[in-house]
Subunit: 186 residues, 2 copies
DNA sequence: CATGCCATGTAAGGCGTTACATGATTTC
DNA sequence: GAAATCATGTAACGCCTTACATGGCATG
């Protein structure tokens, strides 16, 4: 399960509780599990029983008791092994909007335009939210050069994803205005 | 459920059987259900009981009996209503490769490069497959100008998705070569 | 004679989400 | 006094996939 490796990755940086992991995943741009503790707590149990993690109970006063999870040497080895030996998968996407577009032949030009504009708006919102997440996340100050580069590349990937989708909406809008000018000018 | 509207859309062009729908969805670039008859047959039953479709049993000699589904006026109205009144959603993506990348700080430059090259290769394969699908699908010869335009835009969307991902891999590879030159030249 | 296509359907199970339960502490 | 945060966990459900069951016809 991929989420197990995502957790191992996070714990390879520093020990954390399940709750911490949940928050980080909620804020993450590419860990796409939308802050879902159910899966996290189950995964943690499994990883512990596989000896990839150890858990330590931390009593705190003025706050609930928590379990601190640490990655083991076996865990680090498993993560490394996974990274180098897993064949990279092509990305998946779900674009419900394309299904809407596919139905748009029935509509008037102005209606299609309106739809695309709404989509554009939604994309802009999303893009701003992602940038905001990225901004909030930057607390780790002194990463190694390599780590920094990788972080940047990951952000760039997500950023250009939305950018190119936005560019596509521009192309569509222009196409509508050029091809269906007669109608939309009336 | 979105798949219901995808089915309505397909049946709005011409009557079909569940099996036909399954095949089309398998070949579709943006209907992302990977040819899954389970959902299709269930959806068809539901759509029938909602009077959005009618089904007609067709006996064929030399082939199994099939059920031909036709969209009703109510079905067309529901589809149109859905298209114009559903707020467009931002696309979702899952890129397991980014999780792999996030772990790559541990690796040597050459290993990262290898990983990215493999990803690039996988993307190229995928892109070719999608183009092949698109080529095979083009049997509908004389679409209206508007329909043609929409079809083209949808294909363009998917095409540029892979293209921009490929461009990203180029950027990453260059970055590795520039930033970690010392190591990778050894 | 095995494989594959046409055609309909069912079963099992994994992945993922929302929501709930509990309970203490802090903040408005 | 209400709401948010910290913290762990469970329950219920929906979506989606793979695989299976059936059976006739065609193709190699």
């Amino acid at each position: 399960m991929l989420i197990n490796y995502a957790i191992l990755r996070l714990l390879s940086a520093e020990p954390m509780s399940g709750y911490d992991l949940k928050k980080i995943m909620q804020e993450s741009l590419y860990m796409y599990w939308s802050g879902n503790n159910n899966q996290i707590y189950k995964a943690l149990l499994q990883l512990c029983s596989d000896d990839l993690l150890t858990s330590e109970i931390h009593h705190q006063d003025g706050a609930p008791t928590k379990k601190l999870y640490k990655i083991t040497d076996k865990g680090r080895a498993a993560l490394l092994e996974w990274v180098v030996s897993t064949p990279p998968e092509a990305p998946e996407f779900k674009k419900p909007f394309l299904i809407q577009m596919a139905c748009a032949g029935q509509l008037e030009a102005a209606q299609i335009e309106e739809l695309v504009l709404k989509y554009q708006h939604e994309l802009n919102l999303q893009l701003i939210m992602q940038q905001e997440k990225q901004r909030r996340m930057n607390v780790a100050p002194s990463l190694a050069k390599r780590e920094r580069f990788i972080e940047d590349m990951i952000f760039d990937n997500i950023f250009t994803f939305y950018q190119s989708e936005l560019q596509w909406t521009q192309k569509v809008l222009q196409g509508i205005r050029n091809n269906f000018r007669e109608e939309s000018q009336r």
